[in-house]
């Protein structure tokens, strides 16, 4: 599929923008040889692109392949098919040297603030590592680390401390500082706020939004919580069992979801207003989506068909292609 920029094929347009990140027909299979061929792929022909300065959200349940896509982009997961392009360059199978070359522009913030910083290194050493890899001197790296800590709202002297001396929220800010220290173009945020409490989650989300506005960053924001995603992302891609179910503007996808799975996902996300939540519950129960526990994964056709109230024989026979429905792209025969 792809949400292609309409400008892309316009000849000679000065406004022509090359997507910052372009994922095309990405396939990732776990396991080796026969085992990999037998199981349905963890990521199955996923395509999307991110423009400079744009934030795209990747939403799905556990096992939807959203984190695997992030890892494939970062080179942490071997890709079985398709391609990942970054700034017009194919980085699908980039080696360590190539990764080092683009490592300052393509960065990551991970979920668990407890294990994303080496407990045996000072904050300064962890922050300086990406700079040192690029041959920046120790003293300069330290100053940069101090500046960056200040930017994420921590005192400069935090450079000499160890991760265990900080709370979860502070550690996640340090991870953000580590990602942004070499002035990247794109940051992959893999469940970057999921482990945090409400008030700290809001602090980190605000920080990400501020830094984006200041530096014109792009984010690939991966999360299971569609409400968190829509705070940062203008565009979202909804995944189910490794396939794109729906993609489009965040407002359109969350307010008038077209795919039965997106409808179920949006309706299941509870809101803290009892009267409205009661309405949403009634809507959810009327959707008639079957429970995930009742069905096993079977290859072929639409991955959601066994839970889907609209499913017919066609859905088992033929995998629905993404097509435009309203303002979004939807992979459903009946949307």
């Amino acid at each position: 599929m792809s949400i292609e920029t309409p400008l892309r094929h316009e000849a000679g347009a000065s406004v022509l923008q090359q997507p910052l990140l372009e994922v095309r027909d990405l396939v990732v299979r776990y396991g080796r040889r026969r085992k990999a061929a037998a199981a349905p792929p963890a990521v199955d022909s996923v395509s999307f692109s991110i423009q400079p300065g744009e934030t795209v959200g990747l939403v799905g349940e556990s096992g939807s392949g959203k984190s695997t896509i992030g890892k494939a982009i970062l080179g942490l997961q071997k890709v079985s098919g398709g391609s990942v392009g970054f700034q017009g360059e194919d980085i699908t199978h980039a080696n360590a040297g190539k990764r080092r070359a683009i490592g300052s522009e393509l960065r990551a913030v991970f979920q668990d603030p407890n294990s994303s910083l080496n407990p045996r290194k000072t904050i300064g050493a962890s922050l300086a590592e990406p700079l040192r890899v690029r041959g920046i001197s120790g003293a300069e790296a330290r100053t940069k680390a101090e500046d960056m800590l200040e930017r994420v709202g921590l005192p400069r002297d935090a450079v000499d401390r160890y991760p265990s001396q900080f709370s979860g929220g502070q550690r996640q800010r340090i991870s953000v500082a580590r990602a942004l220290i070499c002035e990247p173009k794109l940051v992959v945020c893999d469940e970057a706020v999921s482990a945090l409490d409400l008030s700290t989650q809001a602090q980190v989300l605000n920080l990400l939004a501020d830094l984006r506005d200041e530096h014109g960053l792009s984010y690939l924001f991966i999360a299971h919580d569609i409400s968190v995603v829509q705070f940062l992302a203008k565009r979202v891609v909804v995944l189910y069992r490794g396939q794109v179910m729906e993609s489009g503007l965040a407002a359109a996808v969350t307010e008038s979801p077209k795919h039965p799975f997106t409808q179920a996902l949006v309706a299941a996300s509870p809101v803290p207003r009892p009267a409205e939540q009661a309405e949403r519950r009634a809507v959810r129960e009327s959707l008639g989506v079957r429970t995930a526990a009742a069905v096993a994964a079977t290859p072929g056709g639409c991955p959601f068909r066994q839970r889907c109230p609209l499913a017919t024989e066609l859905c088992a026979a033929e995998r629905p292609a993404l097509r435009r429905v309203g303002a979004s792209e939807v992979a459903c025969h009946y949307a």
Partner: protein
């Protein structure tokens, strides 16, 4: 806020390793002293030894300790002391070759294997072959081929031992390799070698040092053994094994001859083992600061007695009603974790305990079950269940209530299920125990319970093991397990936090229908205000160990009175839909204070946008003006009257420093 943690945590793993761990263990200390003494004595032997190794004193052959020969002489009248220490340097040094080769090679192999799956496959097969080779035979073959070249033999011994070391280190190296900070380093562009050296190897330090100490002891023994059977250094050069061998020929006529060499060898081996044990044990140190079981029981007894002394409440006991009054929970030794918590749960209703982590909601819930962790106990207050005070109940009384009257479901359903037994076995044995019914009846009941919790193919699920079912299914099974004693109250500790939202919605619907059908009540611990809105009738908002607001869920969520509740709602992205999503979410500066830092006044004041001078005195729970609601804020009426809202602090990241300075003050 930052300087709250002790400075000791600044020490690196390595300084901790070499430092007080050894000294704290008597055996480790003794071992270190002995080994240092032996090493120093053997290195300086040339300067202080009274005799040369081959000097013979025919006036004192096979003598015991004398003034001239402190440790006696051997069958040729040679001084034992001189011979032991003259050969010590070589013995220790060549044993160290085994350590360097064995541990070094094993570590390198483990690091390489942890780096790539294919490498691991190959290396593991090779080491399996190495481990299956008979070591003694190989060493004897090498002696036959190249003669008694001790350094070479010890190096080959190291190679043979490295296979075992590899096995020990591999698991740890692999878990370190899977840490997110290794992923982060890969994203930086660090190559596999740099990652191994910078991020994996430091984490292996303890294991490597412990293994080295143990292998050193093994090397010493094997070397002595080889010399004993005649494969030591060529005569007349002394060696420990050789000296023991010659002593063994005089066991009857000169038994003393065995003692000095044997004792030195045994003590050196024991020292190496003691050092290894001390370092290894320190790495898995237990929580020794906690009081012993006996002291805990005594303190709990005192607390219970104090609780019973409190006047009973006047209300007539009501079946299935839970009343918590003035409940305080604290660590043995004083630090309070929960203070003066009060709430009621009527039959057939759901109470939500809400707050961020560190607010005491889980401790409150666990105290209802009498399941507080070791070292934590109820310090005052009452938990009235059917008119009986559970805070003063003995363990035996609680056993009769747990599972039957009050049941628990936890955040991690897999923890409630034993991986060794089938779902059916666990369910039927719980039913048999709690309801005293026969096996057949229990089996039928298990099936109907699974159907009751919405499992479609209950018969198949009964035969499965916990690892074969999904997280949502496991939580259903855990709920069925909790229902097996027909409880009247269900304590649910974040039961849906680990689940996908669609599964969460299903579990909440299930709980709602169970409450409706059975009339049981639920205490639901959660941090998710959406979950509260969905299922709770009443809610108690907790902050820093206190209830700051409680009342009907609908009125609190739609019309919050406490600034903390206001702030939580404003920080929740779920409270906004896409079209009215704000530019910035509201935040609460700083973080929940540690129990030891709780102020005497309002505990939220330091983070509150509306705090004033009136907030520095202890604040009681006051009627909030909406129904029976209570709020712990002196400014609640003022805020409600002026319609004040928690405003997002609109500070760009680059100017954030002023907030931090306030935080730290």
């Amino acid at each position: 806020m930052i300087p709250t943690l002790p400075a000791t945590s600044r020490k690196t793993a390595l300084t901790k390793l070499s430092g007080h761990r050894l000294i704290n263990s008597p055996a480790g200390l003794a071992g270190t002293l002995w080994l240092s003494a032996i090493i120093i004595a053997s290195l300086t032997a040339a300067w202080w030894l009274p005799y040369k190794t081959e000097d013979q004193d025919f006036t004192a052959v096979l003598s015991g300790p004398t003034a001239a020969h402190w440790l006696g002489t051997d069958e040729l009248g040679r001084d034992i002391l001189s011979r032991i220490f003259a050969s010590a340097a070589e013995t220790l040094g060549t044993s160290f070759i085994t350590v360097i080769v064995g541990v070094g090679l094993g570590t390198l192999l483990a690091l390489a294997a942890a780096n790539s799956q294919r490498g691991e496959g190959i290396i593991s097969r090779v080491t399996e072959v190495m481990m299956s080779l008979p070591g003694t035979v190989i060493i004897l073959a090498i002696v036959g081929a190249v003669g008694t070249n001790i350094p070479l033999i010890m190096a080959i011994l190291g190679v043979l031992i490295s296979a075992g070391i590899y096995r020990v280190i591999l698991g740890q190296a692999k878990s370190l390799q899977n840490q997110l900070y290794v992923d982060a380093a890969k994203v930086d562009g660090l190559g596999p070698f740099a990652i191994s050296v910078r991020h994996v190897l430091p984490g292996l330090a303890t294991t490597i040092v412990v293994q080295s100490a143990l292998i050193f002891a093994v090397g010493l023994l094997i070397q002595a053994g080889l010399a004993f059977i005649g494969f030591g250094p060529p005569l007349p050069q002394p060696s420990w094994g050789g000296m023991i061998q010659s002593a063994s020929q005089h066991v009857y006529d000169a038994p003393w001859l065995m003692v000095p060499t044997g004792v030195v060898l045994a003590l050196t081996v024991l020292s190496a083992n003691a050092i290894g044990n001390a370092l290894g044990k320190a790495a898995h140190a237990t929580a020794s600061h906690l009081p012993s079981a006996a002291i805990r029981r005594k303190r709990a007894g005192q607390a219970v007695a104090a609780a019973s002394a409190a006047p009973p409440v006047q209300d007539a006991p009501e079946a299935g009603k839970l009343s918590v009054r003035g409940l305080s929970v604290g660590v043995d030794g004083g630090t309070p974790l929960v203070t003066d918590v009060a709430f009621d749960v009527e039959p057939g209703t759901v109470l939500g305990l809400v707050g961020e982590s560190g607010c005491g909601k889980t401790m409150t819930a666990l105290s209802l079950m009498g399941l507080l962790p070791t070292g934590v106990a109820v310090t005052s207050g009452q938990i009235l269940w059917n008119g009986k005070n559970l805070a003063a109940a003995t363990d035996k009384d609680m056993d009769a209530i747990r599972g039957r009257d009050i049941a628990l479901i936890s955040q991690e359903p897999m923890r409630a299920l034993d991986p060794m037994f089938t779902v059916g076995y666990q369910l039927t044995s719980a039913i048999r125990r709690l309801r005293s019914v026969g096996e057949q009846e229990a089996a039928a009941e298990a099936l109907s319970l699974l159907e009751k919790v919405g499992i479609v193919d209950a018969k198949r699920i009964l035969k499965t093991y916990p690892h074969q079912i999904s997280g949502g299914m496991a939580q259903r099974v855990a709920i069925a397990l909790a229902l097996s004693g027909n409880p009247r109250l269900l304590v649910a500790d974040e039961p849906t936090t680990a689940l996908d939202v669609t599964v969460q919605a299903e579990i909440l619907s299930l709980l709602r229908s169970l409450v409706k059908d059975t009339g049981m009540s639920v205490v639901m611990v959660t941090h998710d205000l959406g979950v509260v809105a969905d299922i709770c009738d009443h809610v108690a908002v907790m902050y820093a160990g206190q209830v700051v607001e409680n009342g009907r869920a609908a009125s609190i969520l739609d019309n919050p009175r406490h600034p903390y509740t206001l702030a939580l709602l404003a920080a929740d992205p779920h409270a906004n839909s896409a079209h009215d999503m704000p530019e910035r979410l509201a935040t609460i500066k700083g973080q929940v204070p540690q129990p030891k830092d709780w102020p005497t006044g309002c505990r939220f004041a330091a983070r509150c946008q509306f705090a004033g001078s009136a907030c520095t005195v202890p604040i009681p729970l006051l009627p909030s003006g909406t129904g029976a609601g209570l709020v712990r804020c002196v400014k609640a009426d003022e805020l409600a009257m002026e319609g004040l809202a928690w405003v997002p602090t609109d500070v760009p990241a680059s100017h954030r420093l002023d907030i931090i300075e306030k935080d730290m003050a």
